[in-house]
Symmetry: C2
């Protein structure tokens, strides 16, 4: 009996079973079959929403330090996020994966294992999958649809001046996790003998590599007779989310610096890298938290019944002006994020 | 008064008005505003469908010979196609454009002018737009949602053996248009003094660069009491569409070679390039036609009342076996398309 060489992972070209063969194999794992579209409804008394996300290798993720399984999981959450934030329940997902020759069947299966884990956790069985050719690495395009009872839709109030701004958890951790991974990548590129130093930073690494989506807040709101007027999925920094909310509602906002939840590891990593934890929290990105606005009258209820929420400020009538208030009372206007790196190709 | 130099088109960096500024400007032209999602429904008595499309520069289009306006128009039709084919009415569209530094505001506006023309023609006002950074050229990700009356959904029969296969128009023309453009590109690359020779081939060039989507067939079916059991949008060649239909319905198909509509310019160009027009029709791609299956009993009605449809064959009970029948009665099994070029990056 010959002993298999376990140290070399198998790499099977996709051409061996073909594009349709691979799509079939992946869809079987989630109990569905080939389809060029997803169908949903009719469910009487429901409203619908659709969300879309495009993830490009080199811009949105780096496969040097991002395991494909984590990437698949995170990609699904990134398109479900806005649906959950708007208080809808995700029910269908379409995925198109663009692949260059570098990727083999095992890679796609690894990515898919993360995708299907996220689909199962969120009870989504209505799925469409397609694979495309790509000249340049991995491209992931997702869209998802969600539903909401029409009675909720009708009752949802418009955001008002004076309402509270709440977030579902700490911000800036994912960005500092990314900075740590980038530092170790740089060290490794300079000297491949160097072992990555990642100990003691599990929290910020997890925040970046396998974020969680808080899908239970909507239920907690309902249980406490709170109807948030709007929700924004925070992926491009807290400042961006607050400014977006102001623009949508034609209002202003005050965010209190000392109320923004920032994890201790975020501060530690920022100090180690000579960076600013506050900037990471405001402009870092990849937080996967939700920013809600709720009536001021619900302040006590939130403090008591929804301890997972942090009240960080409130809306004002000062249309379009969003600012950060420092502990000494100074106001600093929040700036919109610029572009992330666009390359001159 | 100084005379403006009209020969140099203006190229304004997107950074001048910023990402959100540009999104705002584009959305204003179609009377809508910034939104991270699209919402639709409730419409009592309707079913919903969602379609998604990913278009990558270098794989799905070549900007050397594809005007951005045409590309924008065609991109929208490519995501509406499957919705129309399934007998739904498109009602919402989300678009994400990935841009490298090479693209300026005027480019995006040019692309958008094609997008908005297609949206207006199809009466879609429910739109979400986002811009992303890209390391490598232009990436267009689209998703669209459509609706169908539940009574239609419930009545739609499953495809049956013996049913007719019909298509909405000729196939292979777009592929031959693409071959012509590729030939002229090659000649130009070898000698930039050479002027492109495109005269006399307007039909195949238009088929590739600005295809039309036949959105009126559904109504014609309804007016003649025909309920097609299924529709497939033909983008990857007729053979691919027929095989997909067989797979979905667990049936077989016979397509009669002399019934496939092929335009005379398609034959002419194929001859000029020493290619096979039949192969272009079967495997060419980009046809933007729809393949329908309708009951055999409706044959006379279709011939008389829906002359825009060509009956090209029928379904059989021979599960998974799709073949082409030549005029002398020989059967050639239809092959699935391979991958388009995946690059070893």
């Amino acid at each position: 009996m010959t002993k298999a060489n376990d140290s070399t992972p198998k790499r099977t070209p996709i051409e061996e079973i073909g594009k349709v063969g691979l799509i079939d194999r992946l869809l079987t794992t989630v109990g569905t079959s080939l389809s060029d579209t997803v169908c949903f409804g009719e469910e009487a008394g429901h409203h619908w929403i659709s969300s879309q996300k495009l993830l490009l290798e080199g811009i949105d993720f780096d496969l040097i330090y991002t395991p494909l399984k984590h990437l698949g999981y995170k990609a699904v959450l990134s398109v479900l996020g806005p649906i959950v934030a708007h208080n809808y329940t995700p029910c269908a997902l379409s995925l198109n994966i663009g692949l260059s020759k570098r990727f083999c069947i095992e890679d796609v299966e690894e990515l898919w294992s993360g995708v299907s884990a996220a689909l199962q956790e969120n009870k989504i069985t209505n799925i469409s999958l397609d694979l495309s050719s790509s000249l340049t690495g991995l491209t992931i395009s997702l869209s998802s649809q969600g539903k909401q009872k029409t009675e909720v839709f009708v009752q949802t109030p418009k955001a008002q001046s004076g309402e509270l701004l709440c977030i579902t958890g700490n911000v800036g951790a994912a960005f500092m996790g990314l900075q740590l991974l980038e530092r170790e990548k740089l060290l490794f590129n300079n000297n491949p003998e160097v072992q990555p130093q990642l100990e003691g930073y599990k929290f910020i690494l997890q925040s970046y590599l396998s974020p969680q989506l808080n899908t239970s807040v909507g239920e907690s709101f309902a249980n406490n007779d709170i109807l948030p007027s709007d929700g924004v999925f925070i992926t491009n920094g807290l400042a961006d989310a607050v400014k977006y909310l102001c623009k949508k509602s034609n209002l202003g906002a005050k965010v209190f610096l000392d109320k923004i939840p920032i994890a201790s590891q975020t501060f530690e990593m920022a100090e180690e890298l000579h960076m600013d934890a506050i900037t990471a929290a405001l402009n870092g990105g990849d937080d996967f938290q939700i920013l809600y606005t709720v009536p001021l009258s619900k302040y006590e209820t939130i403090k008591k019944e929804l301890p997972q929420l942090d009240v960080i400020g409130h809306l004002t009538s000062d249309s379009g002006y969003a600012c950060l208030v420092t502990p000494d009372g100074a106001e600093i206007e929040l700036k919109a994020q610029g572009w992330s790196e666009r390359a001159a190709d």
